[in-house]
């Protein structure tokens, strides 16, 4: 009961969706629409798990006074504040007015955007320090990689006079020929890998997602 039915479900829905791809008839379009309608709703409930898990982790952190527990309060306050603003101070929960709420929008524009984009701009510094200390031409392959990288990085640099056009052409050739061949092989390989793993899941061979009971 605990394992047979989920595996049967996976097999049934998997094969159904494969057949659906090959059948243009209106009935197959109808089943596709019907299943999609259901999956969106199930998917949203699944994502609610993530929120619940964050709240649980933060709450445990506060209750057990774990390290940095004061900041967990900031997390929960931020969560509650956004939910309160998003529902327009709980005035209208069932219409999308909350999305236009002044505080909701400003929290997004002046808290989420600065923090998230600044966090990623740290990457520019990490690349600088990594290129200074980590990117070594240890082997022939690594030096090949670095050489190609340098050519692509110089391509829009105008300070090479007559050489600029050649650099630009080399970089464009590099991107359109060897890079194309490499990425095509990877795409074919990854495609086969995806189909293989998806097949194993449908045939019930791959059961990791169910876990052991």
């Amino acid at each position: 009961m605990k394992r047979q039915i989920p595996l049967a479900l996976v097999f049934f829905f998997g094969v159904l969706m494969i057949i659906q791809y090959f059948v243009p008839h209106e009935a197959s379009e109808w089943t596709f629409e019907f299943l999609m309608d259901w999956i969106y709703i199930i998917g949203i409930f699944a994502l609610a798990l993530g929120i619940w898990s964050l709240v649980k982790v933060s709450w445990d952190k506060i209750r057990l006074r774990r390290e940095n527990w004061q900041y967990a309060i900031v997390t929960l306050l931020g969560l509650v504040a956004m939910i309160c603003f998003g529902f327009d101070y709980f005035r209208n929960v069932f219409n999308a007015a909350g999305l236009q709420n002044f505080m909701f929008r400003h929290f997004f524009d002046y808290i989420m955007i600065p923090i998230q984009s600044t966090m990623f701009s740290l990457l520019a510094f990490f690349i600088a320090s990594a290129s200074y200390r980590a990117f070594r031409a240890r082997s022939l392959l690594a030096s090949l990689l670095l050489l190609a990288a340098l050519i692509v990085m110089i391509r829009f640099n105008p300070y090479f006079g007559p050489l600029t056009a050649y650099l630009e052409q080399t970089a464009s050739w590099l991107l359109n020929v060897p890079n194309l061949a490499a990425k095509r092989a990877i795409v074919i390989g990854v495609g086969l890998g995806m189909v293989a793993t998806a097949l194993k899941v449908i045939l019930g061979i791959e059961r990791a997602y169910l876990g052991k009971d």
Partner: protein, 413 residues
């Protein structure tokens, strides 16, 4: 004044006669101009036209094809284009369904399936078609004979997609054959991968130094292929960790991945006969926000100073930060991802990197599990087939044997 009237009447009569069989199609508009021009001869009507149900569609579609009319010659002023008319009965009212410019020879009459829409076109109902050659002057045209009855219907199999079906079926039989072959204990050869040998070495190193192993499953969700492969590798790594009693830290990004990882690690500890050593805190959820997750994992790295970091799964922009901080913490780093955009960073900053589907090979090789082994061999033989097909196709394309190449061309609707 009388002569003008007479000529006018003649014009009307001429218009009436020439449109033989035209029932109440739009009456020729009153030209009203006093200039009298002899009625130009109507263009040659279309002959032996053909109408059949549109193949590979979901119904309500008929394709009408016709050879160009005799006057449809390049630059001819007589033919302006073709109009296609449809009626429920041979005598019934003919409604214009569409126009096609000069030189065209095919028209798809696509109706709608839902009864409410004005363009409703029922399946399995007789329809009659005729093609009208229209000239710049709307009063002058020539109709072809009426053909029918023709019925539109939805097909149960899209013949354009046969190549995809063949590839999927061949691959499925290949996979099932090799998996059963592997299950019956056949020793299937896989060449050793540098990255995998390093994983065992690194687990040994972590045990000697008595420092934990950090395993990051990446940012993928539980249904993504790379994450499923990463579960298998995590299963194997945690089995070894259970035997050697080394610490294991698994910060997770996605709640479903976390719960599945917990069960995988619990199962491995069970297999290693040490269910007591497992506690849920080893595998914990951090956050669903990408960068906050990375900052938290960095903090763990600098605090715990793990001997080995293993990154297996789907990684995005944060891969460099993980590898950089890992290098700072002085641990051996083994990475594997099928996220092609992040592989250069792992190749450069980590000791070993599994490129693209070497990650899948690693989960098969490490797991030595017949199922993974079988599916990997199936992929290998499929890859061999593709390489051979590509070479043959390449030679075919270069020596003019084009229809072999077109076998692989699948239109996308």
């Amino acid at each position: 004044m009388k002569e003008i009237l007479m000529v006018f009447l003649a014009l009307l009569l001429a218009g009436g006669i020439s449109s033989a069989g035209a029932q109440e199609s739009a009456p020729p508009p009153d030209t009203g101009t006093l200039v009298v021009t002899p009625a130009p001869a109507p263009p040659a009507p279309v002959t032996n036209l053909n109408a059949k149900d549109k193949p590979n569609d979901h119904g309500a579609g008929v394709v009408v094809t016709w050879p160009p009319s005799a006057d449809d010659v390049v630059g001819s002023t007589k033919v302006f284009g073709y109009a296609i008319l449809r009626a429920a009965t041979p005598e019934g009212p003919f409604l214009e369904r569409g126009r096609v410019p000069i030189g065209e020879g095919v028209f798809e009459d696509q109706g709608s399936l839902d009864e409410v829409s004005p363009d409703y076109m029922a399946d399995h109902v007789d329809y009659y078609y005729k093609v009208r050659v229209i000239s710049p002057d709307t009063t002058v045209y020539a109709d072809s004979e009426i053909i029918g009855p023709v019925q539109s219907s939805g097909q149960w199999f899209n013949t354009n997609k046969v190549p995809v079906l063949i590839f999927v079926l061949c691959f499925t039989t290949l996979a099932i054959f090799f998996i059963n072959h592997a299950r019956r204990g056949a020793n299937l050869f896989i060449r050793p991968l540098a990255g995998i040998e390093a994983v065992d070495e690194a687990i040994g190193r972590a045990t000697e130094m008595g420092r934990p192993i950090l395993y990051v499953l990446g940012l993928g969700t539980a249904s993504e292929i790379a994450t499923i492969a990463s579960f298998t590798i995590l299963g194997r790594v945690s089995k070894k960790v259970a035997e050697y009693q080394t610490g294991l830290i698994v910060p997770c990004y996605d709640p479903i991945v976390m719960t599945v990882a917990q069960e995988t690690v619990k199962a491995s500890y069970l297999d290693a006969g040490r269910p007591d050593a497992y506690n849920d805190d080893m595998v914990y959820f951090v956050t669903q926000s990408q960068f906050a997750y990375v900052a938290a994992v960095n903090g763990t790295m600098l605090r715990e100073l793990p001997a080995t970091n293993i990154y297996m799964g789907k990684f995005f922009a944060e891969s460099l930060i993980l590898a950089e901080t890992g290098a700072l913490a002085g641990s051996i780093q083994i990475a594997g991802t099928d996220e092609v955009a992040q592989i250069p960073f792992f190749v450069v900053a980590c000791d070993y990197t599994l490129i693209g589907e070497e990650l899948y090979a690693a989960s098969a090789y490490l797991g030595r599990e017949p199922v993974l082994l079988g599916s990997l061999k199936a992929q290998d033989y499929a890859k061999a087939a593709i390489m051979i097909l590509a070479v043959v196709g390449f030679l075919a394309a270069n020596f003019g044997w084009v229809d072999f190449v077109n076998l692989f061309n699948v239109p996308s609707n």
